[in-house]
Amino acid sequence: MPVTTIAGREVHVDAEGFLTDPAEWDHDLAAELAAAIGIELTAEHWKVLEFLRKDFATQGETATTRRVQTVGGFATKDQFALFPKKPAKKMAYIAGLPKPRGCV
């Protein structure tokens, strides 16, 4: 598993760059990952990220955009505004969670 240095310390990531150990995540890391993909985190972003982290802790799965809407209460349209083009993957990437499972 590749190791990369983010926010001044080593973290474990998969081939695409998603963190493989959610415990290595913190707010500094999130800010740096967001910056790497051109997103500056605002209070609105943080609310979504906190939901994702909390939901993952209980479900063991990364929430899909539908779940972020129906359970988290963040409209899909708003998710696209905050995390343009690929909200599901971008939210997971910044929140230090595995890519949400899509089609199998």
Binding site: P84, G102, V104
Partner: protein
């Protein structure tokens, strides 16, 4: 007398009752299956009907005779499951008590989930995931004069994730045969980042689209459909025009699952993905499309699940640990038009790879490559479905996926100190 109640007499539910009946002594166990339908549909056939390859009589049989004797059929819809009271409340006001419950009510298309979709249905908007939809689309395609045909997936997961790809391949073949392929612009619009999710098959299937002149529009999450204007709009404000839209609506599990508090946000039942036991209640299993297991929603998955479920159920009801573990095995033919098909074989951990099946290095079927024998396999499967699978007979293929005969392309692992960014961000 112990009571097993199975909800749904589709592919999974029928296999479950037919496999269990000979294993559960009749003086010890009653088996009841609940389904309001009078007919059993061979759903893989819905793909072929729009192109006139199958006619309606090829895909439908009366439901009751598909069940073994000793299985009681209750023709009613479910209103609610009272898990605490171990009873099922039916919409006709009666109730069924159970010792064990198996939820096998599958998944169904929900046109109403996408604004504007339902308004155009049957006109310039069609679907083929239902018997009625597939029949209507056959009539539409028979005299389609040409124009922009958009094949579209609203949201994952859907039942049979390869079906929309097969549809677009068969459409290419169909319009070519009709001599109007040059008058038809075909495109494939998907919320996935490519033709399919997993890298090896996504690349191969993407090339197949390109070779057929089918445009691919990935990462398209539909916000609304305007049937009158003939446009499809995404959340990131892309707009795609169509003369005929063939859409796969959002798929969801049965509503009673939501009402009973047993489902996730799409009414799928959270289960242990290896045993199919509900994570909420150890008297409830779910099987087939109805579960939240991260496997394909497909008949082959239901079949492999049923093979594992059988010994697990028999052990579980005796208070013993469940001996078998489901590995997510799926095995799907992909029709590619012109009398050919691909076959893919994969599970939770292994993506579809090239190789041979079912005998390593021999085949005769080829994995992730087009061949005629794969196509014959797909057509022959209809007979196997009615005569082997539904009655609960064992097919001569392994339940668990095997790596023997599969080739994994070499991966190029690059090491870098920089922050890794997924492609396409």
């Amino acid at each position: 007398m112990r009571r097993l109640v199975v909800l749904g007499a589709g592919t999974a539910g029928t296999m479950v009752v037919n496999k269990l009946r000979p294993k559960l002594a009749r003086h010890e166990w009653s088996i009841t299956v609940v389904d309001p339908a009078k007919k059993h549909y061979y759903q893989p056939g819905f793909l072929f009907m729009p192109f006139g390859i199958y006619s309606p009589r090829d895909v439908v049989k009366p439901l009751a005779p598909t069940l073994r004797s000793g299985v009681e059929l209750v023709s009613a819809a479910v209103d609610r499951v009272d898990a605490e009271g171990r009873r099922v409340l039916l919409d006709n006001g009666t109730e069924l008590s159970y010792d064990y419950l198996v939820i096998a009510t599958g998944t169904s298309p929900r046109p109403e989930e996408t604004p504007g979709l339902a308004e155009g249905l049957g006109q310039n908007v069609h679907e083929f995931f239902s018997y009625e939809g597939s029949t209507a689309l056959a009539a539409k395609l028979a005299d389609f004069p040409g124009g922009r045909v958009v094949v579209h997936v609203a949201e994952m997961p859907i039942k049979c994730p390869v079906a929309p790809l097969e549809f677009v391949f068969l459409a290419d073949s169909f319009f070519t045969k009709r001599g109007i392929r040059d008058k038809v612009q075909l495109s494939y619009v998907t919320p996935l980042p490519g033709a399919f999710t997993k890298p090896v098959s996504a690349e191969y299937l993407g090339d197949m689209l390109e070779r057929r002149g089918i445009a691919l529009e990935p990462d398209f999450v539909v916000e609304s459909i305007d049937a009158e204007a003939g446009t499809l709009t995404s959340f990131d404000e892309r707009e795609i025009g169509f003369d005929l839209l063939v859409t796969i609506p959002v798929n969801m599990g049965a509503d009673y699952i939501g009402r009973s508090g047993l489902g996730d946000e799409l009414n799928y039942v959270p289960v242990d993905k290896h045993t199919l036991l509900s994570t909420a209640d150890d008297h409830i299993f779910a099987i087939g499309d109805a579960t939240d297991a991260p496997a394909s929603k497909a008949g082959s998955v239901a079949h492999f699940e049923a093979d594992v479920f059988l010994p697990n159920f028999l052990a579980h009801v005796e208070g013993k640990p469940m001996p078998e573990s489901f590995d997510g095995h799926a095995n799907c033919f992909i029709e590619s038009g012109g009398g050919k098909a691909l076959l893919i074989d994969f599970n939770y951990d292994t993506e579809p790879l090239p190789g041979t099946y079912p005998v390593p290095f021999i085949g005769p079927m080829r994995l992730l490559r087009e061949s005629r024998i794969n196509h014959w396999g797909k057509l022959a499967f209809r007979w196997l479905y009615w005569h082997m699978l539904l009655p609960g007979r064992r097919l001569p293929v392994p339940t668990h996926m095997s790596m023997a005969g599969k080739r994994r392309p070499p991966t190029t692992e690059t090491t870098t100190d920089a922050v890794r960014i997924p492609s396409g961000f």
